[in-house]
Symmetry: C5
Subunit: 263 residues, 5 copies
């Protein structure tokens, strides 16, 4: 892996991924009349200058293949539904080869660390890394320490542990939660070593807070964000995406980027 | 996928699938002396101008291959029996390659959403989509939210969730139940995005009610129906099929189509 | 499949299969000094003019391959022992390719309907049908509704259900029990549609009763029998086999065939 | 299979296998300073004129390949440790192809009859028979009826049942225990039909008793022995092996062979 | 295997492996600001003249491939996290082929002896041995008797049992714990026969004690050590590594090697 571009996912050493797999994970209750339509999201990805859009194979096949070949695509290879309880597990339902044939530049996979099924996911993920890197595709790991054995998924040591395992398994980018503690995130970034760390967007919050959170995490050495609801549930997703661009790629302060948005 | 024809399963943007896998799912108790014979059903499919007939591989092999090569065929790749209780699961017993060699233009698969086995079915289905689309075959998903975690399988949000997952997994057509709520079905159709929605026929009801149900669901944007017992348990299946044709393909009202039947 | 001969297993549209896998299923306690020896059975198969002999791969390999290449062979691909209790399951231990290399014209497989493992057996059987038919081999299904969910394995609706599933899965011949009810067996034969129905011999009974049972079941439309202990536990197996031949292939009455035996 | 030599494992229709997998099954507590060293055993196999030596792949690779290519080798493909309790299972960890590449003329496998995992072992063993016979390799089955369902593993009917299943699955040689009952062993040999029966050596006993046991079992028609501890725990293993040779291959009486040893 | 060099892992018949997979097994809590960085470890491996460095695939891919092609590499093919409790299991997530493509000269695998999952690990390991040896790669087995059935993982008979199984499965080098008992370790080395024994470093202890432990174990015939924390948690890792080199490769006494360090 060339750290300078991570298979084309970086720009000035940073990345900004738009995630749109919530329809599978949470159900369409996350959506409104606009964002239920994948075309609406593809337009945001394009105009918002995202490094990549992360979707399931079905979305890629029916939209990207036909209308949006210019948007760099990450295809998520597993998913679970909100119906699952107990120890979480999510198994690969899309092959790396299929993701590639659909035009993806990278693949995504979720590991539920601490689940009694974690070995199954490590096994699948190891094979995915091998197949993806053989074909020059980036591997992004959604690292969720949500197994029943995990007491606090946003404890600093838990987040850092997840980032470390991501690196040892061969992920190029690992998506983790940011609990707001700068020193904790610095250690996570160090634990991840050559693997790039991006923070999750999570539930919708107010725009300025979100920009400030990103600004802070960048000081800890993260490479960027993987954001979904905070963007496509916004009533001005393009403006907000551009503010994020400024903070992440141009080093503009959160307050300033936010004030420019209002104009 | 070319939305205009969905691998040949659409006519004027609509579809009408005749389902005949109830002998496996429920047992021959659904049948009488006539419809127990697959030839009787193939004749209905042909004369009733169905877009496709959905059967198990054994039926395709012993009847379609020999007598009815002109009827577009969807082969169901899994099934379960009425003996199963607890969390439902139905695993693939027929390969896409075999379905293709038997002349099918599409394949069908059932997912029991909310079952603790749903990951197994997602995994099989993902591979089926990949193999089918590689060979230009349509994929129809019977989406049944019947896992123990599902409180009400015909709640609007549950139906819409199933339709969304069908799309994200790559189904071309998803078969769901219609609970009679027009707004609910509109949201399901939107959640399904580029995947076409057809409604299940279900238990035998009176002909006019069934036609009215179809007429109503069409207003919500569905693409058609997948019907079985309501047709082949009817004492005038061809007449009833033609009425369904008129409602679905020609936009004739239910009442009018029904009154024409009587003549 | 050409219904007229079912891959060579039919003569005048009927069949008579000699089964010899009881050493595996029940143990050698079924045997005496004579019939413990496979050669004794191969001789009966030959002189008794059976349509085929059904054995496990080991028997085929050590006897058929060497001494009896003229006897049409069906190789059973699974088996279980008398030690198993609880929900029954029997998994494939012999491949279709190996059965073919041993000279078999067909393969046999047992499904325990209503077992919690039935999905595993459906999955294996579906693949077996595909592989066997690809190479022009017949598929015979031993359909035993013996899962814990099955209240009465010889209820008419249960037998008919098993026969129906056999057909939908692609079996050429299904072996079921005959409970003595003619109408029930007629419905089973109809439910099986293009799949041929043969009845199981079961425990040793007196010769005349057995011949009468076969005569009666033939009136319901069955294609023949799969018999074991009633023949090779008989003290005049060749004579009895010839009587069975007369009843099945020549339409001779049970009483008459029996009286000829005595001479 | 040519019964006359069983892939080279027979001499004058008899066989004598030296088993050395106890280090895996029981631990090195079975060993002393001498026999802990595989070279010591290979020397016994060579000088004691054994038909074959049965070892795990690691022993074959590190000793046979390098020093002892003249000793006919059987590689055991599975094993379990003394730590396992409950229903026993032992899964294949070495492939037939690898055994072949290491120079083996045959493969060995253990089935725990009556275990709830017996289906898994039947499945693996069936595939092993197919692969081994395809390449002209002998298959030796260690048949241990030790599942929880088995009340008495050395009851005559249990031993005979095991031998029968071995034959139906395609084993060339089956290793069983001898409970001392001559008639019981005669029936076991008959139940095994074309499959050869060898008796297990078991725990170390005095030499004369062991020779007498072998002499007796030979009268029941067994083909020979698979012996381990009784030989390599002996303080004169070569002498004792030669006595066994005389009893098995030359028909010398146990007493006489034993008295010759003393000289 | 050529015992003289074990695929290049030996120098003067001895070996010294630096292990760095603790980030996965224990989490980054084992690390400080220096040793969290894989480059720091690669530098120690190089300057400390280790026979090989053992890491996960991700570390190999991101560091060895790019910066350190001169360091002999062993890639660990499995791992587990500190979250797992109950009977331990660790499944293969990296293929031998991938390890090879990343430039490894050997592969590592952990077996938890006495775990109810030990059969799964034996099965994976058997295949790994086959694949690795086919391509001339060394196989190092981390043998941890930590299953619930194991009362005392450092009892002499348990350690020796583990070493024996390693040999029978085909490991080239087995890593075991040393409980300080010289006679016990001598028996372990004998039980391992042609497989080389290295002792684990374990938790950080004082340098002189560690050197003395190594010196003592060498008297029992071990081939060397696999050390991690004792080296890279040291504040003078290169000096300490050189002392280890002297003790292991040059037969210098522990006290002397230690006193030289101080200078």
């Amino acid at each position: 892996m060339d750290k300078e571009d991570v298979y084309g996912l970086l720009r000035k050493g940073k990345t900004m991924i738009l995630a749109y797999d919530q329809g599978f994970e949470h159900g369409p209750s996350d959506f409104n009349e606009h964002n239920v339509n994948p075309k609406y999201i593809f337009d945001i990805a394009l105009e918002g200058r995202y490094s990549a859009l992360a979707v399931q194979a079905g979305v890629a096949e029916k939209y990207h293949k036909k209308y949006y070949r210019d948007i760099p695509l990450i295809i998520k290879l597993n998913a679970k539904t909100k119906f699952m309880d107990g120890d979480p597990v999510s198994l690969q339902h899309t092959s790396v080869a299929y993701a590639r044939s659909l035009g993806a530049i990278g693949v995504g996979y979720t590991i539920y660390l601490g689940s009694k099924y974690e070995q199954k996911m490590f096994k699948e993920f190891g094979k995915i890394v091998e197949e993806a890197h053989e074909h020059g595709m980036a591997v992004v790991l959604w690292m969720y320490p949500r197994g029943l054995k995990v007491e606090n998924e946003i404890a600093n040591d838990v987040i850092a542990y997840g980032a470390r395992i991501a690196m040892e398994l061969g992920a190029d980018i690992v998506k983790v939660k940011f609990n707001g503690d700068l020193e904790g995130m610095r250690w996570t970034v160090k634990s991840a070593a050559a693997t790039r760390v991006v923070i999750a967007g999570g539930n919708k919050t107010d725009e300025l807070s979100f920009l400030k959170t990103v600004e802070k995490a960048l000081q800890a050495g993260i490479t960027g964000i993987a954001v979904g609801r905070n963007v496509w549930q916004s009533d001005r997703p393009i403006d907000f995406s551009r503010a994020l661009n400024e903070v992440i790629f141009d080093g503009v302060g959160a307050e300033e980027a936010f004030s420019r948005m209002r104009k």
